[in-house]
């Protein structure tokens, strides 16, 4: 397969030449996915933590529903968002279709279930450890939520990365609601899909390599933040 060597060459030359089109696409990819992940964190983490801490009727249903939504097909999300944001749809007046904002909305919907579910799991485990202590100190469940999220922050980085992974790699939904418009809504994944449909497999794979490098970069960054503090996590000397 000569495509592979060509792909690496393509990726290399794209990176070395600092191709301005590539830079634009990468910037848009990162901004859309980062904003989406941040928004999903703001929604998903309190939601997940609340599911872990509060006991209310229907909690199991919500929990199972949310984790099922992790497998939500992006195309379906894209379609639903399209129908909502279309000029003929209920939110058409906002004129958001084929904008980065529409892509962010789609990614938020895809990422919230992941972050909420992983957060629920982390916080649930933490809550087993913390519940008596926090209640003894007089913390209400509402006061416990931010405490648990903050104390679970190093485990929650993984949830964020999982969410980011889903967002940055997603193609089906952003293709539909973004439209893959050059210089407007074209991101890494839709650009790759376009190059594949042009039959330029080497360039597509080259872009894929660039995407992978970005993903690796973000993960390395996250682990650099996580590592030093994790090392001094519970050293519970003398615990029976």
């Amino acid at each position: 397969m000569t495509e592979f060597s060509e792909a690496f060459a393509a990726a290399f030359s794209l990176l070395v030449s600092l191709d301005p089109d590539l830079a634009e696409i990468v910037t848009l990819s990162l901004s859309v996915s980062l904003v989406a992940v941040f928004s999903a964190i703001v929604i998903g983490m309190p939601l997940g933590a609340a599911l872990a801490v509060f006991r209310f009727p229907g909690r199991r249903v919500v929990t199972v529903g949310l984790s099922s939504l992790m497998g939500l097909p992006p195309v379906v999300v894209g379609l639903i968002i399209y129908m909502l944001l279309s000029r003929s749809g209920p939110l058409g007046v906002l004129g958001l279709l084929f904008t980065p904002t529409a892509m962010i909305i789609a990614q938020v919907i895809l990422v919230v279930p992941i972050i909420a579910t992983l957060t629920r799991q982390v916080v649930e485990e933490l809550w087993v450890e913390y519940e008596e202590q926090l209640r003894s100190l007089g913390a209400t469940p509402w006061q416990a939520l931010p405490t648990l999220l903050w104390d679970g922050r190093f485990s929650l980085v993984t949830a964020m990365l999982a969410g980011f992974g889903r967002a940055i790699a997603e193609v089906g939904a952003v293709m539909i609601v973004g439209g893959n418009i050059d210089h407007a809504t074209r991101v890494m994944t839709t650009a790759i899909a376009l190059e594949v449909s042009k039959g330029d497999l080497a360039l597509a794979l080259g872009l894929g390599i660039v995407l992978l490098l970005i993903s690796i970069g973000v993960n390395v960054l996250a682990h650099l933040i996580k590592k030093p503090v994790q090392n001094r996590s519970p050293i519970r000397r003398g615990v029976p």
């Binding site: 000029r87 084929f98 449909s197």
Partner: protein
Amino acid sequence: MRPFLSMALCLSLSLLFLAGTARGEPAFITLASTTSTQNSGLFTDILPRFTRMTGIGVRVVAVGTGQAIRLARNGDADVLLVHHRPSEEQFVADNHGIERQDVMYNDFVIVGPAADPAGIQGMHDAAAALKKVAAASTVFVSRGDESGTHKKERGLWNIADIDPAAGSGAWYRQTGSGMGATLNAASAMDGYALADRGTWMSFKNKGALTVMVEGDPRLFNPYGVILVNPDTHPHIKADEGRRFIAWITSKAGQAAIAAFRIGDEPLFYPHTP
């Protein structure tokens, strides 16, 4: 404390983003078009000229003709540029669009593996060629996505009086995706496929595929441009859309289409050279 910080950060980022998109370019239109025009590189070549001249950006959403018409009907595009005359006329008749004009044309070709197991190379009757493909039960890869090309292909099967759906999954493979993906599949399966010449010429993964059948008048492939009806969709940028249509059908626009070539060969022929 920290959650509030991140929330504030997030909100401000989102607002920044919204503001950015709201300002956007000074003016632009959304053009719903087909994958063939985009994948061939035509738009990348000619649209900057229009933008330089008028200051109006063109945002191309390239999907199959069926989906493009759907987008336009929903009012999600200002201008429609597609290649299936009956659908276009229906669109105008249904009052979704106005001022339809011919823009350019090229033709479809039937491509296939150089080994040519169905023995159709050099034929000029597309329907007869398809008959032979069906008779030999050699792999034929179809778009299967209600695109202009797919509709054209179905028309040819009709003329040949063959229902390929009977062989679906066996020798008749429907990819349900764009022209490029379909050619990729044909290349990988050593199958035949109907392709528009623009995409075919600019396609880079031909493998063993070559042109088998061309020159049948029934393979004619005209492109038309339509303004989405501003009476149905008041938000349509009718002025900018009309300027685009006027330009692409003008001498300058037609010359730009004629000047777009790969190697020495033109991919599209202007309607009024």
